[in-house]
Symmetry: C3
Subunit: 357 residues, 3 copies
């Protein structure tokens, strides 16, 4: 299994990590512990004490360091051992753990599992719409899923599935009747967009339209390699501007745990009734119901049928609706190959050595 390593992944939502607490999570097969230093700044270390390999996230925070639960060695955010409570307290030179570049932004924890010297905060996509949305018009969640992360990305890149998997809420038929437009964007992104004028709006939008039977229906997804997706969709009275009708902007963020497990993070906002806390609670519950009750079981079943091989290696019958998903898979494959070639060309980098275990 190969992953893109020199890239930002979402490791969790920032509110999963309280001051003084710890979050242990495996990202691209690397166990990582996240904690906040005394200034509240998030730190990320390999979640494995170099002494006897106890998981650091089972320990506790002491000042700016995490203390190993087993024998009390402490490590600060740089990965350096800062305290050895045994005997004369001398610290062996090798007593350090790998530190990862980590950033808190848009309410999320971003981690760079590759070479930290290449980590560039400017490469984090701009998801500030999430920060700006009013409290009662947004929500977010996390769904561990037993499937390869690309199957979950495919699911979002082909929204026509809503007409069959979510017919009573998000479906309506418009997206499967419409041929989507696909374009590659700069910075390793792919956009897919649907435009269905004067068609049947999804039930969830129809409830917020004067005439719920006909509307101009639209949707678009911008995929950012390796698995960050911004999804907008809406419906408006035929011929009227998009922002007159209900609009939602959502995030679907897929972080590989390993080849068979994905950390699926999602967030959503809406343009209508933004102060309606009751509607907000209803929307969050509905979305969790859809993702956890319909998408997750389907993608996990798909994974079981596919097994451990690569989807495209099984020669699936591709439909025009797959064009977006296939484009993303190709971009990602190219990026991974480029990165691997670069790593082999300069195998002496400290990063290369660390990964070669």
């Amino acid at each position: 299994m190969s992953y893109l390593l020199n890239t930002w992944y979402i490791a969790g939502w920032a509110d999963e990590l309280a001051q003084g607490g710890m979050l242990g999570r495996t990202i691209v097969e690397q166990p990582i512990v996240f904690f906040r230093n005394s200034q509240g700044v998030i730190q990320a270390l390999a979640d494995r004490c170099p002494h006897r390999f106890a998981p650091l996230h089972m320990g506790k925070i002491v000042g700016d360091s995490v203390q190993c639960p087993y024998h009390g060695l402490r490590f600060d955010g740089s990965g350096q051992c800062t305290h050895n409570p045994h005997g004369d307290g001398s610290i062996p030179k090798a007593a350090c753990v790998r530190a990862f570049a980590v950033v808190e932004r848009h309410g999320a924890i971003w981690v760079w599992p590759g070479d930290s010297s290449l980590a560039n905060n400017a490469l984090i996509p701009d998801f500030s719409f999430l920060d700006e949305a009013p409290t009662h018009a947004k929500g977010h969640g996390y769904l561990p899923t037993r499937a390869h992360y690309e199957l979950l990305s495919d699911n979002i890149m082909d929204l026509s599935h809503v007409d069959f998997l979510h017919p009573d809420t998000l479906g309506g038929g418009a997206l499967s009747r419409t041929r989507a437009t696909i374009e590659e964007l700069p910075h390793d992104r792919v956009r897919i967009s649907w435009w269905a004028p004067d068609d049947v709006p999804p039930p969830a939008f129809g409830a917020h339209l004067e005439d719920p039977s006909r509307a101009d229906v639209w949707a678009e997804v911008i995929w950012h390699a390796p698995g960050l997706m911004l999804l907008g969709s809406g419906a408006t009275a035929p011929g009227r501007p998009r922002d007159e009708g209900p609009v939602t902007w959502n995030l679907h963020l897929m972080t590989p745990q390993d080849a068979a497990n994905t950390h699926y993070f999602f967030a959503n906002t809406r343009s209508f009734e933004q102060d309606n806390a009751q509607l907000n609670a209803f929307v969050q519950e509905m979305l969790i119901g859809i993702f956890a009750g319909e998408d997750k079981p389907m993608v996990e079943a798909q994974q079981r049928q596919i097994g451990e091989v690569e989807l495209l290696g099984l020669s699936p019958v591709l439909l025009p609706v797959d064009a977006g998903a296939v484009r993303c898979r190709r971009v990602l494959r190219r990026l991974i190959e480029t990165e691997r070639a670069a790593a082999q060309a300069s195998p002496s980098s400290s990063y290369g050595k660390e990964e070669s275990r």
Copy 2:
């Protein structure tokens, strides 16, 4: 692992499959979906959409077709895609799934996982006694079991085990005291029979005899390759004809799911008190108790001890009581080898190609 493919297996009891419903079951490692067309005739397809490999049994029935739960492609009983709801609705040539020969007979669903052109309904054993038995004198059930199907067949082919595993119900000592007679029958069958004159009847029969202490006790099993067994047994006052005493005819039908899991189907009838619904309920409950509580745990424990190797490869100490089971294993081995040799001789058959994945 190799299985006999050009043969009929029981996929389920017919009452497991309602009109409009679906049954997904893996037979010899092939996931198959069963459904009824609008005439109620059972159809069997590979349970994997050729588009993105979603399991079809999670979808729904529309007319004579099954609709994929994920993107709405529909397939009729021949495996042909009949509807593509996307865009202009054109159907890719490759959009089809494998169809299996399937027959509903004797209250069971029979499926032929090999070359459909060889499927011959006349090869289904005649189990019409089950159709003819009065309602209150029969029952059937299903027990998924974590063991190789041949271990379950062995269990029935050596009924002397009843004296030790089921001493309070089916045992009594007569079968282990008696040497069984074994003969190969035409059509890949093996018969084993026990005849214990003037011996101790099993408790379950004794309760229906005037003198429960002595009887002529008999039993016989006819094994049909690869794992269909018809079992008759009874007890009668010494010297009297068999049909004067209680008699049962039962089926024990072993369908491999894979090398380590078996679909164990069973059915039973009885000759006595055929209108006694209360006794019938008691018998069904007793049999489930015996199969699920005594046979299944034993065979599963045996499987754990054996591991993934073949039983005879472990050089077990064979007793005369094993002669029937060993004979069946040899017949089955011969049939599988013959089938494989034929498949290699004509690798260009469509069936051969489909299997070569």
Copy 3:
């Protein structure tokens, strides 16, 4: 995976095996059934009938033999088949199972998984202190643990962990402040001892001292290959003799089930309030809470982080506190290699053959 085979392992506590009952337990990957003959003497056989590999421990005891649950063959403590209930009752020559040397001593069942002809009862360590302790001043228990047995031995050989893993009960800081003394003893033993004069006693001892704030604190562990550990510890007013203060002697006995699972047996005694049944119950509950709630989760987490490789192969950062554990690992490695070399030198021994499966 290799284990020391010609050695005594604890298979269980003697009170786990009632007269007429059976205990099935896998020791160094060998399933073994333990039972008592009619004189109450413990017997140990391979837990696998040679006929069809049913686990014998699911059967029943008849006289001095265990009867197979499946077809009724009986085997006495020598492993010889003593009864075949089928047909004329003749017993095939090969109908026998391997018998293991087994001894009941110090309230425990000791088994020798290697060559029985080398089993020497004198090699069982003298743990008679356990027999002699008053009823209300001792206890014992069993904790199946998902970790390699050497990780569990390491845990006891480096008691400085108590200051971090058990700070409120067994910790106090004295052991991690003190450099331990290590010496190899005859008969493949290693002793590690801590002596911390005028230091902070562990809370569990402080509660039994006049001045709970300062004491001479001591501890020692004698490891007997492959994983039997005698642990003594105590605290006494500064400058006073050890036996004036509270003292406990404990056993920590690690028996490998396989490479990833250990049977962890423990026992404890105490020198103080030996007639206090209420305190005894409190101590037992506290210890179970510590072992099951703190040590077991930590060692199991450590095992998950390490995976299936050998700890020292991962180049851990070793501290002076590891010296005892590393010494034991080296002694054990040397013993295993010596044993393997001897087995290869005389491959014709019956024991060598039996193991070569």
